[in-house]
Assembly symmetry: C2
Homo-oligomer: 468 residues x 2
Amino acid sequence: MLKFEEISPSDFFYRNKEIAGFENPTKTCYTIVRELVENSLDSCEARRILPEINIYVKNMEEMGEEKEEQKINIRVEDNGIGIPSDKAPFAFGKILYGSKFVLKQHRGIFGLGGKMAVLYGQITTNMPFKVITATMDTKYIHYYEMFIDIVKNQPKIVRYEKILNKEMWHGLIIDFNFMGNYKGAKKKIIEYLFQTAIIVPYMQLLYVDFEGTSLFFERKVSSMPPEAKEILLHPKGVDLEMFKRLIKLDSHLPVSKFLCKRFQKIGIKTANDILNLAGISSNIKVGRLKDEELQKLYSVMKSYPFKRPDAKALSPIGEYMKIGIDAMFKPEFISFDQREPSSYEGHPFIVETAVAYGGRIPIPQNNEINLYRFANKIPLIYDSYNDVSMKVIKDINWNAYKINIYQEPIAFFVHICSTKIPYKTLGKEYIANQPEIYKEIELSIRRNARNLSAYLNKKKFMEYQKVR
Amino acid sequence: MLKFEEISPSDFFYRNKEIAGFENPTKTCYTIVRELVENSLDSCEARRILPEINIYVKNMEEMGEEKEEQKINIRVEDNGIGIPSDKAPFAFGKILYGSKFVLKQHRGIFGLGGKMAVLYGQITTNMPFKVITATMDTKYIHYYEMFIDIVKNQPKIVRYEKILNKEMWHGLIIDFNFMGNYKGAKKKIIEYLFQTAIIVPYMQLLYVDFEGTSLFFERKVSSMPPEAKEILLHPKGVDLEMFKRLIKLDSHLPVSKFLCKRFQKIGIKTANDILNLAGISSNIKVGRLKDEELQKLYSVMKSYPFKRPDAKALSPIGEYMKIGIDAMFKPEFISFDQREPSSYEGHPFIVETAVAYGGRIPIPQNNEINLYRFANKIPLIYDSYNDVSMKVIKDINWNAYKINIYQEPIAFFVHICSTKIPYKTLGKEYIANQPEIYKEIELSIRRNARNLSAYLNKKKFMEYQKVR
Ligand SMILES: Nc1ncnc2c1ncn2[C@@H]1O[C@H](COP(=O)(O)OP(=O)(O)OP(=O)(O)O)[C@@H](O)[C@H]1O
Ligand SMILES: Nc1ncnc2c1ncn2[C@@H]1O[C@H](COP(=O)(O)OP(=O)(O)OP(=O)(O)O)[C@@H](O)[C@H]1O
Ligand SMILES: [Mg+2]
Ligand SMILES: [Mg+2]
C-alpha cells in the first residue's frame, strides 16, 4: 500500500535546498550573504532611507582549525524599516511568508530567502538564530532567539527580550551560525558587493571578515530614486486564473467598472470598447458573467492593443549604469539604452542595456562573453550561460555589425526591472527565456550594437586617414 | 503599513511557474509530456508491471488556424497501479502531495509535477482536467473532472463517475487541454522519448500527434530489474535536523537501539563503538540526550568510517547502457563503468558512466561536448552546461589522456541513481554541483578515459605498424 502524504512548504524546501541555491558549502556561503543584503536594501528602499549596512563574518572554529567547511557566524545590520514585533517571528520562521507578494518592484519575491538562510544554519549547527529589530519611531527594540519548526512551518521562539529603544534606532540585525566554505565563496561575495555598490550608488556598506578583509563602500550620491509605487496589473497577458481571482474580489461591480478598477491602462472608454468587441453589456455584474462570456472577454483582451504600462512601479538604474561602467572599466566607448516600459503576463518591465568597448575591458577567453547581468538592482553572478540575456547575445548574428564579440574587448550590461522577474531558479541565479523579455533585450542590445559598429567604423576610418 | 501575508504552496508555484520548468509555451509543452511519462513509469515500476504507455497529442484549434501558441489536448494512458479513488483528487489537486516522499529510487521526488502540468492547463484554458483510474483488482474505474483551487491548495471536483471495471483494467489516464507551442517542442519531446526507450528497454510506448507522427517504441526485454526497496538513511552526512526528527519518532528507545533501527550499516557493535567515542552510555533513552551529548554524537558520526551503503533501494541501468549506446551510435569503442554505491547527506547513490568513440558519433561543433545525461532513468535534455557532469568533464585536464574532447568523435554518458537526486531546478533540468556526486562522476569518467586513451594509443600503434 503506497503511503500518500502532504508535506509542509518548509519540509519541502528543507528536503530540496539545492533548488534554493544551497547546493554545496561554498555556494551556500554566497547565497546567505546575498539573501540578507537584498532584504536590507529592500527594507531601506521601502521608505527611501539611505541604506547603511554592516556585514560581519566570523570564524567560530577553535583556533588552529583549518578545515574546508567551517562553522561561520554571520551578522548583518541595517537601518531599514525593521519588522513589527508580532510579524518578526513569522518573517524568519514561516516559509512562504513575507511582505513582498504585492505588485511593486523589490528584490524579494518568493517569501523564502531569509528563511532558507537561517534554516541552513539550523540544520548544520543546531543553534538558534537571532533577530533584533525596531520599526521607525517605536519605543522598544525586540530581541528574538528562534528555530524554525520545519515539519509545521512555524517559528519556535526560545528567547525573547524587549529593550528600551533609547536612541530611536530602527532597522534589523540578523545573527546566526552555519557550516560553510567561506574561502571558496569569498571572491564571488566580494564581486557581488562590488557590483551592488555600482548600481546602488546611494548605499553605504561595511564588510568585515575573519581573514583581515575590511571593505567600506561609501555612499556616492545622497539622493534616492522615487519610491516604487504599488500598481495594478497591466491587462496584456494576464492569465485566466488571475482574471477569475480578481473577479471574485469584486463580483458585484459592473464589468466595465471592474476592468477600470483592476487593471492599469483601462479607462471607461477602453473598457466599453473591449466589452463591445466581446458582445457583453457593460452593466452586467462581473461575477454574473457566464463561462463563455468570460472566455470571449478574455480572448478579446488578449489581443487588444493596450497602451504601454505605467512605469511608476519600476525603479530603473538609468544614467548610473553609464557612470558605473565608466568607473569599472574606463572604456573608450559606451552606448547605453533604456527601453520604454513593456509587459509580460500583466507585469510591467523595463530593460536597460549597455555595450562598452576598450579601456580596461579584457578580451574574452575560452569562447566566453563579458556579460554583466542585473535584475531589480541585484547583480547576478552565477550561471550566465543559460540566462535569457546570454541567449540573446549568442543568437544575434554579429557579422552583420562587423563585430567579433569573442575576440574584442567588449562588455555587455543588461538590467531588467519588473514587478516580477521570471527567475529560472529559486536561488535567483539566472532569468528564464521569457519571450517578451527576450524581445526587449534583443531590441536594446541591437541598438547599442549599431552604435558600437558605427563608432568602430569611424575609428577605423580615422586610423586609416592617419596612416595615409 | 506593509502588508504581511502567507501564501499557499499552490499559489507560490502558480506565481513562479518558470521555477518548475514552465518558462515559455515551447518548454511548457516538453515539461508536460515529461512529467506525465515519468509518473506512468514510476507507477508501473512500483509493482514491476511491464509498462505500456500511450500518448496522444491533439490540436484543439479550429481548422486552418496556424498559430505559434495553440490549444493542445494531451492524453496519457498507462497500465500502472493507478491511484486509490479517495487519494486521486489530491494526487492531482493538492501541491506537495504524493507517494514519493519515501526513501526509494523513483523519478518523482517533489510531489509537484503532475499538479503543475494540470495547473498550467487550467490557467491557460479555464477547462477542467480529467483523471480516470483504477487500482489493481478493483471493481470500479473512477472518473474525475477537476480544477485546482489555487488559493486553498485543494482539488475542486466538478464531475465524478463510478464505472464498472468489467475488463479488470488498472492504471491511469490523464487528459487535459493547455496552450503551448508544440512545433517548437516536438524535436526535444521525441529526443526525450527516444532516450527513455534506450535506458528503459522493458517499456512499450506509443506516441501519436496531430501532425501525422506516430512512433511506436516496442519492448526490447520482458524482464524488469528488481523492485527498488524502501531503505534506511545511510548515517554518513545526515544533518542534525533529520537526526532530531528521527529521535522524536523513537524517543523512548535506548540510543544504541535507535541507531541500529534508523540507519543502515549500523549494527549493535558499530553502535556501541560510536557511543564509546561520544562518551554516551548505550542504554540512555535517545530522547533524553542533552543538547551537548547530541552534538557530540552527531560530530562522531560525521567522521565515522561507515561501510558503503546498501544498494537495494537503487536500480541502476547496468549493461543496458552499453547495449543502448551501441544501438544509438555503433561506436568502434565503448568503455562502461559502474561505481560502488556511495552516499551524500544520508542518501545512497550509484554513478554509472560510459565513454564511446567513433562510429556515428559526430565531432562536436562550437566548443560543445557530446554529453548524454540521465538521472533515475530520466533523460536530461536541457541545460547541460551547468550540470555537475559537464563541470567534471570540463575540469579534467584531457591532455593527460592525449584526448581532445572538442575535436574527436567522443560521446559521454552519465547516469546517477539515488533515493534523492540533487536537482538544481524543479523542472529537473540539471543536477547541482554536489561534492560527493562530483567526486564519483570524476573517478568513473577518469577510469573510462584511461581505457579510451589506451585504445586510441593501441589503434595509433597498429596503424603505424601498417604504414611501415
Ligand atoms: N532586513 C530586513 N528588514 C526589514 N524586513 C525584513 C528584513 N529581512 C526580511 N524582512 C521581512 O521578512 C520578509 C521575509 O523575508 P524573506 O527574505 O524570507 O522573503 P522575501 O524577501 O519576501 O522574498 P525572497 O525569498 O525573494 O527573498 C520580507 O518580505 C520582509 O518583510
Ligand atoms: N500515472 C500515475 N499512476 C499512478 N499514480 C500516479 C500517476 N501520476 C501521479 N500519480 C500519483 O500522484 C502523485 C503526485 O504526482 P506528481 O507528479 O504531482 O508528484 P511526484 O511524481 O510524487 O513528484 P514529482 O513532482 O517529482 O513528479 C504521485 O506521487 C503518485 O502517487
Ligand atoms: Mg528576501
Ligand atoms: Mg511526478
